[in-house]
Symmetry: D2
Subunit: 356 residues, 4 copies
């Protein structure tokens, strides 16, 4: 994550007009030698091994948090209290109560704040949202169905890393992958009101160590606008490397997306002539598509790291323009409430209302 | 359906060795003129307008029921009592109690019986089942995720046909489309033990008339072997004409199928060399694939009606060989119990155990 | 081929209104026992072992020729002289001179005649042609690029069957596969005026026996309307089971087809709004698409044999209506002239004008 | 191009271990104000408006040429004479005689030299080459078929830019797009020995100005190893934004690639078990794939600009290690000879031997 974020800070000013000079001041990590090397390699002026030093630095205006989930709250709150703008990796927190405190802190301090749900800024996804806002799917959404599937722990010999420990990660596939599709559901369709969920831990011990997070979660639910929700997050889908996919069916059309083909958006319009109607495979690399005008000619693909570049560019631009940026910590909290409802539903085997 | 079944009876003996002479004796319908014309067009010797006459005919050994769902039970029970073999369209019945009576009737009468879940006999689906049985996906299935989506009533001006009336159809997308994926879930993975579901009727009045069946259903659940279940049935997915799709993730691989590309099965094997691994797109038209040896050379596609031909061929062969054929009425009942649990779950907003 | 044609004759009257009673009178083959069994299995009233007997039968109106290429001319000419309508498998003949005689014979006899280029009657291909005629690709075609690739002899241990002997087959991949795409090029785009070609025989001896036909042919050329042509026919493309694919680029749009996904036609329209433009994947199974109204609901796929059913249905309908049917023997001859030009070009390494 | 190359120089040291400090010294352009702004935006220390000044700068070791084709030769030769390493955009030159002089210059000066055929360094393409070298397609290649299609001038209102003027560009689609697939053909399969080609200019006048380069080229030919060649380059294929696609058929398997899905490589192996064989869709984002270990986790896509980063990284590494780097100017010359043969073939309508 450090590499992806560093790249974004380096690249954003090269491709976007930020109306601000971006100085990459300090990178912080636990190991002094490693972080020094990283600073040089990744383009930071200096390095630190205590995040409190970074926050104390008066030359620094923005804190970008890419640590494991269990330190998000502490760092973000301290940063806000010091009047820094804060960009925080997702999920915002390990649980709702942490997230509530984080939102309170940024509100109290009036500091710009953003959660790094970078996939909102995949051009094809930003286009999807635009199309729905312009009514290109009709005046009503019937269903939103999303899946985020990977396979990196499908092999039961894979060790227990921090992402498999509830104390550090909060949850498993749910917080790591599910958080992204919950955020996209809210971004594209609207607020989620209630859920029923099942989760499972398929491999409960790995090399003797206990796994205490979910390996997969499957969720049904409802949106406040009446649409139906179906979500699945799993790390046990062999062959799915980074398959964040969704389908949205509206009253006049449908949209289909898959992150493994992230430059494409499939669009079916019931308004096309019936005889020549079919899913259109839009290659979202035209100058008229979000973010693309700053990059390459049509058909010249963007990749994973561009989503971070867009996030940073938009964050800096919003700070300069003193505008609200989304998703902010309030979004992060709302996402967390949905994740929390999912976890409680899975535990209690009941439908759970998402807290407002 | 009458055309598809008639075609199957005509074609099965031409392509398969049935060890029986198939005579297409009588077609039965409500309108005398229409059914006479149909008999001639579709290849039946005679026609009738009262199904009791057909059952009373001593020359007839097999009754094939393609009527709307509300007459399945009555006809099937009478046919069984007359000692006829019975092939019945899906869903077997409108509800569990009807299905229980039907199973009792065929058991009492010891007559061959089959539910026409024709999609079990799509070559690619039969291959999927074979592969799982042979362990090609590993010794454990993690999740089964299926969707049956169409769009023929997504237009709210579409009228209220019998499939949209609960009295005749029993349920909506659930019984019509969901029944197929419930049957495939059981065929490929195993018995379903519990479900949590949500259903909705998006368009409640059509041209003034009330719709009292579900337009869409979304289901999560568990299999007895520990696998997770995620199902969706909908008639409101613009662009999805007949998308019965599923994905199965096992401990050593995955399978992906879509009925709109019914000659293909995608297979990912974690046992392939890592460097050249990827979903294999198997075109299931090789002589080594189920049913194909009786048809055309590799790459020459089969279509929708072939699934009925395979069903009839297998049914007749089983009758001749005095072997049990699947899915039989007992399968139909088990499917019905799952559908019933789904409906009750949606109504009560609780997890429901599937009755044994 | 006998099975596919027999099926077409059986099925055409069941699905189409032919305004004629089709009697399947006689099937003819070389081996008496085999052909008798075939007659029973495939639905013919009687069988014969001398095709002259069939032609002599006054009860027979139509002769359908599915023999190896070296007997097409003799049988077709005799049939025409007896006043029979003639349907002949492709390629029409082994060479141009045979084809010239066949055209002369059917013209002299004024008998209905047709070459069985069944792929013209794939609904998606018929739709492609319709769309071009209606100007949906603009007023000009820039290029037509087609490939027919299979892999059944890519294994060098495969034996020398008749299709690999020039005496019987005339040519190899060219006449077998190339003939289809030459016919489609003419059907969809227009007349071909000149070609430059290369052919090769990759495996020159199989199990000791000599192969004297081409294994693959690659062709460039021009159409009379100025479009550019690029064709490839090969039996050495591992993984391509029956890949007859083409792409057509016009001044306002493009079409893409692949027989291995024969129910689909991809269409790009430069007239769609730029922001949501992309190849539309039309599933050519709507009632508004050619031939489909006689078959199944949307999304319910057709297969290989349907193309023969459509061919027979159109042939019989044309005979009844006394209308010209295409592709007729004159088309077969024009195709043959293109194939001949390709062969001569490959031999002489020169551009060859297609004879008019 | 300036932006893509500048990005590559900035990014290469961040992701690769180059064993050299890369200083981005001077960017050169024609307009002083514009080039100054570019220097700042793109990360260059200084700017210049006369390329001779850059070559004269003793602090500069590497000259990267991204100018229009008509200045490649002059700049490259001067750079070589000054002892600089030279990276030159493709096509190397406008014609063979220029390319011959350029090769002579770099040989005489013993300077590292490379042509920027960046697509050799798409991970999936580098993987394809590796697989063929390791024999994964068998011991023999039957055909190589490639197409590079775009649609940016399919609209006849598009103006006459420098790429449409023979004096500056040398040729049209052929030199711009064809050069890439000729280079890949040589990279992956081997040397091309002879060609027959047709080219056309579909829109001869644009807004009154004459177009004197080809809009499309179609080529057949032979490789020295006996494989057949089929190439097409066009700017008139509506819907094809950047479709550099190829298929390679070998004696034991096939490979399929499409730049519009550049992270994927499709592989069919005749050595897979027949029943579960099919094209494998390899997502070339595993650490075991070329270049990927320096980037992101599996399934996290790379894009267009990464190919330039790889090119620069390899070039710098080769300079440091004093190793030959490919494609060098000698490759560029060989490519040019093939392009020249294609042009002469199209002009004379004859097969042309590629000069050795």
């Amino acid at each position: 994550m450090g590499r992806a974020h560093s790249n974004a800070w380096r690249q954003a000013p090269r491709f976007f007009d930020l109306h601000a000079d971006v100085r990459m001041k300090t990178i912080c990590g636990r190991d002094r030698r490693y972080v020094r090397a990283a600073a040089k390699k990744l383009g930071w002026e200096t390095s630190a091994i205590d995040w409190r030093d970074v926050i104390a630095d008066p030359e620094i205006d923005i804190i970008d948090i890419c640590t494991p989930n269990d330190s998000h709250a502490e760092i973000a709150i301290a940063a806000a209290q010091s009047g820094k703008a804060v960009l925080c990796e997702k999920p915002l927190a390990r649980d709702v109560s942490e997230a509530v405190q984080m939102v309170a802190a940024v509100k109290r301090a009036h500091v710009p704040n953003m959660v790094c749900h970078n996939y909102r800024r995949v051009p094809a996804i930003a286009l999807a949202r635009e199309m729905i806002e312009r009514g290109e799917l009709g005046d009503r959404i019937y269903h939103f169905r999303a899946r985020y599937a990977q396979d990196w722990i499908a092999d039961s010999n894979f060790p227990v890393v921090w992402r498999l420990q509830s104390r550090v990660a909060g949850s498993g596939a749910l917080g790591d992958l599910g958080a992204h599709i919950v955020d996209l559901a809210r971004f594209i369709v609207g607020e989620i009101t209630e859920v029923s969920a099942v989760t499972d831990t398929f491999v409960k011990r790995r090399r003797g160590a206990r796994v205490d997070v979910d390996d997969a979660a499957s969720v049904i639910g409802r949106f406040s606008n009446g649409a139906m929700l179906n979500l699945e997050a799993t790390r046990f889908a062999h062959g799915r490397k980074n398959q964040l996919s969704f389908e949205i069916n509206g009253s006049r059309g449908s949209l289909v997306f898959d992150l493994e083909k992230m430059n494409r958006l499939r669009f079916y319009s019931a308004d096309d002539p019936q005889r020549t109607r079919g899913f259109r495979e839009i290659i979202a690399t035209e100058a008229s598509h979000p973010y693309i005008a700053r990059w390459w000619p049509p058909g010249h693909l963007l990749g994973y790291e561009h989503t971070f570049v867009h996030t940073v560019a938009d964050f800096v631009s919003a700070i300069v323009a003193r505008k609200r940026i989304r998703p902010d910590f309030a979004d992060g909290l709302r996402n967390q409430r949905v994740l929390d409802a999912i976890q409680r539903s899975a535990k209690t085997e009941r439908w759970i209302q998402v807290q407002r």
